[in-house]
């Protein structure tokens, strides 16, 4: 657990060793999101402080970008085409790791605060996500499919970018609100915070957030997967019982 959090810090260690650089003290409002019957989505608050070497903010304060990423998943993307008058799935492309969720919030539009190369390295911005196609095909076709995926995810609320989503007060404290919609898949999410100065990332920190079904919801989905026979029988029994009770009630009402 601890090592995982240290890793991003280690990757930028060479940069930290150079000059005195500001540090990040980040946190998230919730480390664990439980999906229960009344779950309609959640709002995460990412907040923290920037510690400057001299104790005071420089004249040109740095910028902050925060990213929440859902567990990556291998997916198959299908493309519909009109064949014999009806629209059916025709072409398909497989991708090894498509983030199930991606939300970026930054203090200024992300394109104006980081260099394009840095943005690609840290996957800052929806257009910089690396989906890693598993079938090495025509690059133009791969791009067409990727655009399709991103567009679908964006409109579904799974991918989002907010150009002014991070608020920095006094150049020291920052906070960002990111909405997690109700349809998100479960799993381990990461909340990454980047401190950006002169187009480069000077400090980064990661926190894990677990999103899991809980209580009755967890119970039902676990049994439907692990004990499918018992689950199926129970579903039938439930349906029969409800139907039978309803029949009894209506008989009483008729008399």
């Amino acid at each position: 657990m601890k090592r995982r959090r240290l890793l991003p810090l280690l990757t930028i260690a060479p940069m930290l060793m150079g000059a005195e650089q500001p540090k990040l003290v980040p946190d998230v409002s919730q480390r664990q999101i439980d999906i229960i019957y009344s779950f309609t989505g959640a709002e995460l608050l990412l907040f923290g402080a920037i510690l400057y070497p001299g104790g005071r903010a420089p004249t040109k304060p740095p910028e902050i970008a925060v990213v929440i990423k859902g567990p990556p998943e291998p997916v198959l993307v299908r493309e519909k085409a009109r064949i014999a008058g009806i629209w059916i799935n025709a072409d398909s492309n497989a991708y090894r790791s498509v983030p199930s969720f991606y939300a970026l919030a930054s203090s200024k539009p992300i394109g104006t605060i980081v260099q394009p190369r840095t943005a690609v390295i840290y996957e800052l911005g929806i257009d910089n996500l690396q989906l890693s196609p598993s079938s090495g095909g025509d690059p133009a076709e791969a791009r067409r499919f990727e655009e399709g995926v991103v567009d679908l995810k964006r409109r579904g609320g799974y991918y989002s970018e907010s150009a002014h989503g991070v608020e920095i007060s006094e150049g020291v404290l920052y906070r960002a609100r990111i909405a997690i919609p109700a349809r998100v898949p479960v799993g381990r999410y990461t909340a990454e915070t980047y401190l950006i100065q002169d187009g480069r990332v000077v400090a980064a920190a990661t926190r894990d957030i677990d999103i899991a079904k809980s209580g009755f919801e967890a119970f039902v989905s676990r049994w439907s997967e692990k004990h499918a026979i018992i689950y199926g029988l129970f579903a039938i029994a439930l349906s029969l019982t409800l139907g039978w009770i309803a029949g009894q009630i209506s008989d009483r009402l008729k008399r």
Binding site: N89, L242, G247, S250
Partner: protein, 305 residues
């Protein structure tokens, strides 16, 4: 009132789902059909994943047909002999359907095939019902007595080998005929999330030539067992049965069915049949247009195991 559906994996408005079940129940009470052909498309339209909609709708139909089977059984309206033959065919059909469902899912063609099935089946049934009820109304209007339909099984049925006697149905035919019929509806239940009553009842009357007294009860008997088998097939293969969704639909549909049944007593059956034909045709046309129109989403994503 929002409620998170554990298998569908999304939050829905509870009242909308119960209301949806209620509207379908109202229609099924009025017209004496299961209404699965309306539930599944409406659920998909509401945003429920198609596999979950089909599977949970089958579970709901099981519950919705219990009281009907009991009621028809009490007044000797079920031919159990015929019923078991249908169920046996239906069980094999649902297994075959489950295999077909998985295969089509892998090929990415399940939605298209289900759409086409809806258009073809509902379209032809709707046209048949509309023609018949309009013909009946026209002859009534002219004052002529309606031609009594000859109750005789289809010549093709007579060719089949091995004949059994089905006393309550008043038939001496090959059990292969009802078994094949059961097989077809079992497959439809798995693929389309319908009970198949709208195919079964006309087929029993016009193809098998069964005594009308036992047609509805026997078809409900078959639907009860085959939808239960289908729930099992889906639970084991697609893991898409959402108990919570099925329970909500059921609460709505049994309530609606009571109101519908009362409402139906005040309307002439010919008009009811025409209205049902109209609804069936509207669904078929809507599904057909959906296949031909440029879809809102050209791309679709499915997880790879």
């Amino acid at each position: 009132m929002d409620l998170y559906l554990p298998i569908a994996g999304l939050s829905v408005n509870m009242l909308v789902i119960v209301g949806l079940g209620g509207v379908v129940g109202l229609l099924s009470g009025m017209f004496g059909v299961g209404g699965g052909f309306l539930t599944t498309p409406l659920l998909i339209f509401y945003g429920i994943p198609p596999a979950v909609a089909v599977a949970s709708s089958a579970t709901q139909i099981t519950g919705a047909s219990v009281s009907g089977v009991i009621a028809h059984g009490k007044r000797d309206g079920v031919d159990y002999h015929m019923g078991w033959v249908l169920v046996a065919g239906g069980a094999i059909g649902s297994l075959a359907g489950g295999w077909l469902f998985r295969t089509l899912q892998r090929l990415g063609q399940i939605d298209t095939v289900v759409g086409l099935l809806y258009v073809v089946l509902l379209g032809s049934i709707g046209i048949m019902m509309a023609r018949e009820s309009i013909g009946l109304l026209v002859s009534q209007w002219r004052g002529a007595a309606p031609r009594p339909a000859a109750r005789r099984h289809h010549p093709l049925i007579a060719i089949l080998p091995l004949r059994w006697r089905f006393y309550k149905s008043g038939l001496y035919i090959s059990p292969l005929a009802p078994a094949l019929l059961g097989f077809a509806t079992g497959m439809m239940t798995v693929l389309m999330g319908v009970g198949g009553g709208f195919i079964l009842v006309p087929a029993m009357i016009y193809l098998l030539g069964m005594s009308t007294r036992v047609v509805v009860g026997t078809s409900l008997f078959q639907i009860l067992f085959v939808t239960a088998a289908t729930t099992m097939v889906h639970a084991l293969t697609t893991h898409a049965v959402d108990m919570v969704l099925a329970a909500l639909l059921l609460i709505g549909s049994v309530t609606g069915a009571q109101i519908g049944a009362r409402f139906a007593q005040r309307i002439k059956p010919e008009y009811l049949r025409l209205a049902l034909a109209f609804i069936v045709l509207v669904v078929a046309i809507r599904m057909g247009l959906g296949l031909g129109w440029r879809p809102a989403e050209i791309y679709s994503i499915e997880p790879l195991a």
